[in-house]
């Protein structure tokens, strides 16, 4: 099966019902995308599929053949995406496990909505659980990143 992951065509040998998450992690060895629940409840496994945030733990790999998958590793080569920079600046992370998923959700949000309201932010990230409770700084960082995105345009 052929996948496009982070801009590179990859040939993968995996059963069609294997969720994209496990193809990314176990077959391709990209471990930045996390497993948290396996049932689209926590958002730890969030990646972009053709630019949309999706939960890769419930997406059979057969459904994404030929489509563009972006993982946290592909968001920027060096952590320079405005969302990643805002995250560092706002000192968001704690344990860090949920953060790739939070960041992918936030990046998809501001790509589609450069001026998200607080409600937009709450809605877009409601599916990303953080047990460390970094939510307040997540909100702050998303606002920062959106502002920076707008300034860059």
């Amino acid at each position: 099966m052929r996948l496009n992951v982070n801009g590179t065509a990859r040939e993968v040998d995996a059963p069609g019902d294997m969720p994209l998450l496990w193809v990314i992690r176990d077959v391709l060895g990209l471990t930045g995308t996390k497993f948290g629940c396996g049932m689209a409840q926590c958002g730890a496994c969030t990646v972009h599929l053709d630019g949309q945030a999706v939960r890769s733990c419930v997406l059979p790999v057969s459904a994404v053949a030929g489509r563009m998958v972006t993982t946290i590793e592909g968001l920027s080569p060096d952590g320079s995406h405005p969302v990643q920079k805002a995250w560092v600046e706002a000192d968001v992370v704690q344990c860090g496990y949920c953060q790739p998923g939070q960041i992918m959700s936030a990046a998809a949000l501001i790509a589609h909505n450069p001026s998200p309201s607080d409600d937009d932010i709450d809605l877009a990230l409601a599916g990303n659980i953080c047990r460390c409770g970094t939510y307040q700084r997540v909100r702050e960082a998303v606002r920062k990143a959106a502002a920076q995105r707008r300034a860059e345009r």
Partner: protein
């Protein structure tokens, strides 16, 4: 910076002759008495290493699980070493005796102790390294070390300067100083300043390596089929169908169940699904467990005093009988899973008489001991590579080393390197919960509304019974973690007649410390009953508390600050009310004011939480703020949502759809005021979790006049 590059860096510094490293232990009370640093080959027992390329590597005796020790402990060293903060790299230390917790004598992370317990040891390590670098420079320049000063990674003498990297090798030959003088806090440049985390870059790029991310050639993934009921055992099984699943290699029996060993997670998962219907379990007595019945049983027990006498003074019964007013209330809290975001996992490789372990753990020494026993190797041959922890909250500190022991059993039975992975369902249903607790409190007030009698009965499982900690922490049938926050309550210690007793029933449900431990329920009970007493006495909750806490200046200051900042004296916005709570735990005092409303569906909304925290000396205020915000969020999950129930021995919840936790839209604005004080430094990872339950319940009462005494808080829908 990835974990790999950090490792490469470390290797580079080893290969290049290592440079300076400082290894010693600080006797608990004494000043720093160095052990001689090793000569050629660096001893692994090092806290700080200066490499010829100017990098400074800090080795962490504690595990980074979100609480920020990666940054905070590095700050302690950097302050005294006077190095360039941008050149700091941090590593988890290996498991070794030199990294034993200064207060507990074993390598571990917990009890909100990392910063205060390492305050002297890490600063001393930095100061010693600095002294050796200065001595090396003095030898090079043939001058008196006293004439030299240091400045951000350089030793300076007039116009001459040498970088620490240039001096690293020569410094290694210097005798470590017998004694160092630590900086007076007035001269601190870094400590006390809000400092951003050092682990952010790798955590925002997905490069940070958690236990879950460990991969190496030949490593298999295993999922374990465990008994659906606590204490059950495998009676018989047929593995044929599981083995027919593509990718499944073996099914092995271990003490906790059956492990399906496969080439990857998905194969192991499908294999385990196929296996589960072919296992016959001997369920044992756990099969009749019912949490509702258990709570009723606890209620009945609480009617009579418990066998464990935690505190007794005067005649509480007699004082109650003659009191002007009596207030009686029962509070209960359910079983809770920690549900760290990273499900448990542990990779094990047994080879050549060694047992290598890769995992995120809070309990290295216990894990080493358990693994050694199971693998049949000496303890020093158990090598633990501590990975970043995707949350701990206590779950990764099991006295029985449950998830590590199990993984060693699997690797041993399978004969190949194996990483066990828990699914979320395994985690939620796997036990080691915050125990179900019930408090029955009877208080007698005098004519002026002051408490004159306090009878308090606590019912709940002992966390420490049956563990190696039992001998130190369970005395006369009283587990210290069952009563912390009650026996040492400043409200109770002034009451002339009091009786605090404990029932510690045993059940097959494994229980464990959950962020803030006993305070999770004692702060709820204590700060709720005090609120009830205030209303019973017809007094304002703030003024009533302040009167009872007149002998506690730190409590008073926290309380008054939080109340001021929250605008306690002014009316809240329409449709909202405020509640407050103040509680001391882990050596810190925190006061919180919660502002709440109730929506049309009778759901409680928490809008704002104003906190004032006194943790003594504040090392990193930015980190303290994060810990308080996070601890409030963690507590709010339990206040508003989370609950585990058992029926027919089965846990009824399984994943985040029914074991609900706080999500971003529920997150209140949490304001944190850090109150500096000269008091002994306290902890900060846990204290803010404890009082939030009562602060919210008290606010709900103020708003609705419904007194909610069970967690999670649920308003009756009319």
């Amino acid at each position: 910076m990835t974990a790999l590059t950090r490792r490469q860096l470390l290797q580079r510094s080893l290969l290049s002759g290592a440079g300076l490293f400082v290894a010693f232990h600080v006797p608990r009370k004494a000043r720093a008495v160095p052990e001689p640093a090793g000569k050629q080959v660096p001893h692994p027992n090092a806290f700080v290493r200066v490499a010829p390329d100017d990098t400074v590597t800090v080795l962490l005796a504690h595990s980074e699980m979100g609480q920020g020790v990666w940054t905070g402990l590095a700050m302690l060293i950097a302050e005294e070493l006077d190095c360039d903060w941008s050149k700091i790299h941090v590593e988890h230390a290996p498991a070794a005796p030199v990294y034993a917790h200064p207060a507990f004598g074993m390598q571990m992370t917990g009890g909100s102790t990392s910063t205060w317990s390492e305050f002297d040891r890490y600063r001393t390590a930095g100061a010693m390294a600095r002294a050796m670098l200065v001595d090396a420079a003095a030898a090079r320049w043939k001058t008196d070390p006293k004439k030299l000063r240091t400045e951000s990674g350089y030793v300076v003498h007039g116009k001459q300067r040498l970088s620490y990297g240039q001096l690293a090798l020569a410094a290694q030959a210097q005798q470590p100083p017998k004694k160092v003088t630590l900086k007076d806090r007035k001269r601190w440049k870094l400590l006390g300043k809000p400092t951003r985390r050092l682990d952010s870059p790798e955590k925002v790029t997905g490069k940070a390596q958690f236990g879950m991310d460990v991969r190496f050639p030949g490593l298999r993934t295993a999922l374990v089929a465990r008994s659906p009921v606590f204490g059950g055992k495998v009676k018989s099984f047929d593995a044929a169908e599981a083995k027919s699943v593509a990718g499944v290699e073996q099914v092995v029996q271990i003490p906790t169940g059956l492990a399906v060993v496969a080439r990857d997670f998905w194969s192991a998962k499908r294999g385990r699904d196929a296996l589960q219907i072919h296992v016959d379990w001997d369920l044992g007595p756990g099969a009749t467990l019912d949490s509702a019945a258990l709570l009723q049983d606890y209620r009945d027990k609480a009617k009579s005093k418990g066998p464990g006498i935690a505190a007794q003074k005067g005649d509480a019964e007699a004082a109650l009988a003659t009191a002007a007013k009596r207030v009686v209330a029962e509070y209960d809290v359910p079983y809770l899973a920690h549900a760290p975001m990273e499900p448990l996992n542990c990779a094990v490789k047994l080879e050549g008489g060694r047992c290598e372990i890769w995992t995120g753990t809070q309990f290295q020494t216990m894990d080493q001991m358990s693994a050694a026993k199971i693998a049949g190797v000496p303890q020093e041959n158990v090598v633990i590579h501590t990975q970043f922890l995707g949350g701990g909250f206590g779950r990764r500190a099991t006295p029985s080393s449950d998830f590590v022991s199990e993984a060693v059993h699997v690797a041993k039975a399978a004969g190949v390197p194996v990483k066990t992975v828990w699914t979320r369902e395994d985690d939620i249903q796997g036990g080691y919960y915050r125990p179900l607790f019930l408090h029955r409190i009877e208080v007698g007030l005098d004519g002026k509304g002051a408490p004159v009698a306090w009878k308090h009965t606590i019912v709940g499982q002992s966390i420490l019974a049956g563990t190696p900690f039992e001998q130190f922490m369970v005395k006369n049938g009283v587990d210290a973690t069952s009563v912390e926050g009650v026996t040492d309550s400043p409200y109770v210690e002034e009451v002339p007649a009091r009786l605090i007793t404990v029932h510690s029933p045993r059940t097959p449900v494994p229980v464990l410390w959950w962020r803030s431990v006993g305070n999770t329920h004692t702060a709820f009970a204590m700060e709720s009953i005090v609120d009830e007493l205030a209303y019973a006495a017809g007094r304002d909750p703030l003024e009533f508390r302040a009167a009872l806490l007149a002998h506690k200046p730190r409590h008073l200051r926290a309380l008054k600050t939080a109340a001021d900042k929250a605008g306690w004296a002014k009316a809240p916005p329409a449709g909202r009310a405020r509640g407050l709570a103040v509680h001391e735990s882990f050596g810190s005092i925190i006061a919180q004011v919660a502002e709440v409303s109730v929506d049309d569906d009778k759901r409680i909304q928490v809008h704002k939480v104003t906190c004032a925290v006194d943790c003594g000396t504040a090392i990193n205020p930015l980190g303290i703020e994060a810990q308080v915000q996070g601890a409030v969020a963690f507590g709010l999950s339990a206040v508003l949502h989370s609950e585990l129930t058992l029926k027919d021995g089965r846990v009824e919840q399984s994943n985040f759809h029914d074991y609900r936790v706080l999500r971003l839209p529920d997150m209140p604005e949490v304001q944190v005021q850090v109150l500096e004080s000269d008091a002994k430094m306290g902890g900060i990872g846990e204290p803010a979790t404890a009082p939030i339950s009562a602060a919210v319940a008290n606010a709900v009462y103020a708003l609705t006049k419904q007194r909610l005494r069970s967690l999670p808080l649920r308003l009756a829908v009319a």
